[in-house]
Symmetry: C2
Subunit: 717 residues, 2 copies
Amino acid sequence: MDSTASTTAHTRQHTISLTRTPNLSEGSPEAKRQEIARYFTDTFDTYTRLFDCLADDAGYFQKAIPLRHPLIFYLGHTATFFVNKLVLAKTLKERINPNMESIFAVGVDEMSWDDLNDDHYDWPSVQAVLDYRAQVRETVLYLINTLPLALPIDWDSDWWPIVMGIEHERIHLETSSVLIRQHHLDRVQSQPEWAPNRETGEAPENELITVPAGTVRIGKPYNDAYYGWDNEYGEHQAEVTEFKASQYLVSNQEFLAFVEAGGYQQDSLWSEEGLAWRQFTKAKHPTFWRWHNGWQLRLMTEEVEMPWDWPVEVNYHEAKAFCEWKREQTGQPIRLPTEDEWYRLCDAAGVQEVGPGTANANLHLDHGASSCPVTRFRHGQWFDVVGNVWQWTETPTYPFDNFKVHPLYDDFTTPTFDGHHNLIKGGSWISCGNEARLASRYAFRRHFFQHAGFRYITSEAEAVQPNAYYESDRLLTEYAEFHYGDQWFGVANFPKAMADLALDAMAGKSTGKALDLGCACGRSSFELARQFDEVEGVDFSANFIRLGVEMAEQGAIRYSLTEEGELVSYHTRTLVELDLADTASKVAFYQGDACNLKPQYTGYDLVLAANLIDRLYRPRRFLETIHERINQGGLLVIASPYTWLEEHTPKEEWLGGFKKDGENHRTLDGLKEHLGQHFRMVGEPRKAPFVIRETQHKFQHTLSEVTVWERVPEQDH
Amino acid sequence: MDSTASTTAHTRQHTISLTRTPNLSEGSPEAKRQEIARYFTDTFDTYTRLFDCLADDAGYFQKAIPLRHPLIFYLGHTATFFVNKLVLAKTLKERINPNMESIFAVGVDEMSWDDLNDDHYDWPSVQAVLDYRAQVRETVLYLINTLPLALPIDWDSDWWPIVMGIEHERIHLETSSVLIRQHHLDRVQSQPEWAPNRETGEAPENELITVPAGTVRIGKPYNDAYYGWDNEYGEHQAEVTEFKASQYLVSNQEFLAFVEAGGYQQDSLWSEEGLAWRQFTKAKHPTFWRWHNGWQLRLMTEEVEMPWDWPVEVNYHEAKAFCEWKREQTGQPIRLPTEDEWYRLCDAAGVQEVGPGTANANLHLDHGASSCPVTRFRHGQWFDVVGNVWQWTETPTYPFDNFKVHPLYDDFTTPTFDGHHNLIKGGSWISCGNEARLASRYAFRRHFFQHAGFRYITSEAEAVQPNAYYESDRLLTEYAEFHYGDQWFGVANFPKAMADLALDAMAGKSTGKALDLGCACGRSSFELARQFDEVEGVDFSANFIRLGVEMAEQGAIRYSLTEEGELVSYHTRTLVELDLADTASKVAFYQGDACNLKPQYTGYDLVLAANLIDRLYRPRRFLETIHERINQGGLLVIASPYTWLEEHTPKEEWLGGFKKDGENHRTLDGLKEHLGQHFRMVGEPRKAPFVIRETQHKFQHTLSEVTVWERVPEQDH
């Protein structure tokens, strides 16, 4: 955004002046070393001073809210983070204080590995933590002063974890300020340095202003000049239809109408999840509103007369309920914007990044330690497109195409790709560094409070819900990888190899319609559709089918793979990278039973049954009826390792693998016996290998015997 | 044996003259074709005529003994056998009569796949079976007359199943004659062609004659000129100490003393298994003895005055009880001979194979359809070393080294390698073809009756009990193959690779004593003993240890592997073929717990822990105490795929594979943490692949991470 602020009438003095996140590509190494040193000390010391807002020791040790550690944890945590990442990166050979670093390592979000039981913690004294912080400060500064530095600083650079630690601390500058704001008033005290903005006036009438349709292209290249968290990288493109966006963020005044209209009591306005939250918490108004014979607003360290023209601060559920109410009131398609729509608005409003001068937005602590009127910062036809408070979106956070985790912090964003963490955009008055940049993508559980409010829009388009879900069911992830993932031991992708083999065998035959029976996650179906006009994939498992459908509809699936024990890695596979994007429209997936197929599955030129027959409960019935589905001259391709197990197939149904009349009866004998009446075997059986990955070290390596059968005219018997 | 019979006083006429089993290597193809044609018709027609001994249809359809099919089955069975093997060999394209061939396929022995419930059989008429036999006869003759023939006829020849079918029918000529002998007297009738020998006289006094010590070398080469069943091939060598063998087979007269002395009532003379049989059957005398105011003997179709100088016919249990009784009576170490001792006796007696002339032994139906006096055929200093009746041995049948099953009949002998089927040697009056040769090795359950008796010996040596057991426990067989079997996917044998890697790492160090901890079946232990003075293999599993001990003590282990479904293949692995025979004396195996090792396991220059740590219940304890067992400068080699599973290791004991203080904690981190105090890591971790075979098509393919640790002097911490 333009740093020549449009208004200079406000002359508040404040002493905090935080450096901007550095350009990591340009400049001389020595100047960059100095810039990073200042960026570090600025951040580290400002963070330490934030805790001056606590009134006494109890302020450190008493929890602000039950589901969070007390603030003493956060005082230590940002220091420990430096040590942990630098040890992980092997830049630091020894820990500074193993005890502190164990206590302060985890507990920020509601992660499975967090331990929030206070009985398990013997918190150190404030002074001990401050002493520890001083040690860490010295160590990091020593590294900054001595580490060899070459530009650009990229993901692989020794400097990356240092910048990561600084940006991490800037995040906690904001989240700790929220915790202080949520703390008991007795436990906090005002500090001149952290004084709020005092401006207020009458709230404006909001109005909806058109944002023209347009293309949004986001996602940072991996050589971007500025530090980013993993979820900012990759590629994403979307066509956004025209919509209208409210000129201002929703003010306390505008939200009051919802409160007074009984919005908190009208269940129909709330989503199921939102209603559950509201009933659990018994919320009746925004969390920072206080009623003392009139509405007041809780700031970091004080309560003030309600500034009606400041943005309201709510969680996603409250924002969404407000939109529903407004939709009812106006009959207009009012909702929260998506992330794409927010970027489109940025474009329409001409918003630019924060530069070195004072921000033209309530960002980066440039304008005091609180919100300010929603009328204060104009951006194009709108106000507060960035800054003041974060803006909730309809978009659960998700990875862009070509997403990769950073090896030093592989669980920063991946656990939030669960459909339950919605993105907030634009930054607040205390967002700084990476947080204040347009590319930043923070996401929180929908019931969380931050310095966050919202802007509403009207649009005829449904909010696009990206697929944020990482499949983690073990069998499904193994099959997803088997179908769409990497190769091991030099063994070619099996579903593709089966499709290729079938297509070879189809040479010269009609390729109208194919059935991929036991399609699992569907890779063969897509491969067959390179040549077939139509491919139907059928599997007994709805879960397998779901992955195939996801791939067909969204062009991508995501899953985690077990590496070792409970450790996982994250993967996205797309049709585009497999050169299969054009096939999706020719493929359809259905749940079905190969032993009892519905009548409509018929008229096929090819039926592929790969790794199917030894998992059927009635394979004989399947073999004896499948000819009814196949056109004369059409092919049946069967591949199987013949792994007969009673848990899948009763022994009397096995096609082979037993003594019959005293002789070895192999499955191939059984196939010939049961298919002989309607099929002619084409060529000889051959073995096709496949590998299924279980962990980074453990694989199933199997040989599937492939036979090709041609449907022949009926004969007398 | 010499065909110029030593006595010609006996001038009985009989009409059966059976050709000898042909030499399959020598001669002209056309002559051989004629010889085989005659061998076939001779056998086929003689077998058909044996059933003339049945008096009426009831003789065919009423069971002779409850655990056997009625004789109608056996009439059809030998014909069906030809068809089944020729179809299996693909020499015959179509079955002759699928219904007959299903009914007559199986049911000969008490095999798991036999179905002896008569309700399940709708037996064809005798005439229908005879008609079927005629069809089969024509078909086989057609093949004999038309199949291309090249000599030698070996295992792979198209002719092998034809000769197999003939030899199979000759076996049934004998076993059906036993069933006829066991049939109700009303159901049988005498036939001139099958008239018994009528000679009898006074029984001789038996005496013991010395057989000098000597080496026995048996086992046919795979290019032997005569047809053989699979268990005759391979190599076996034994040193037999001097012993004494009874001059004659035990006669009815000699056995009478045992009966009259109350031998059938004296439990202490009987083995546990023998006693159970005797109590179940309430036997009080030999099965073919009949009491009609004096002892008579049941022959095939009649009962005769007891010929006291004929050999007694008993099962193994009765023979053994007699020996025990005789041992008590005489104070001499009397027992049955082993197979090796029988061959040594043949050598001492100068016995030769049956030639083209009349046999100098009651063999091959050359001397009538029954036993004859034990004084009739002299062989060196003894009588009836071969012929008259089979002789029970102390030896449960077992495969020779380099044993292989024939692919057309893979379950002829393998199911008898169970320690419950004892070898009978020497043949009886009706044994002919392969049966009459010295190499033949028939074995029956110890309670079975054949035309079989015994000779006893005295020896100071214990009867050697060969290892006949094929391991079939699935996990054990997979590990046996993993340690001693084939390679797949080009992956080197893992236990050997681990030992080689450890030996490499030991270069220049003392190689006194090594511990192979988690040794499983012990391959690494043997490999380490190539260089170490002493290797101790320790495993938690007594079953694994048992295989290692078997390999060390007997130089071989045997196991079956799953091929497909229930079908298995049979394997023998020896130390000799792995060039490890010299190491066995340096290796000892013990059952033990790696997490709680006994104090004596100490003083090692090397501890190898391959694929161990992720199966321990307390791996941390193991790592923290193992240094106490290792000499200064000694090595600890750890290999593991780090497959942590709660079923083996409680999660709090995992060395890695989880988040620790928010960061990925890998097993390698855990190893460094727990071993760092006493060890120095040598070199870098590397990955070693291994493959475990589950079926012919299914494998586990895993990477084990290998780290080498040197014990360092204690340090202050």
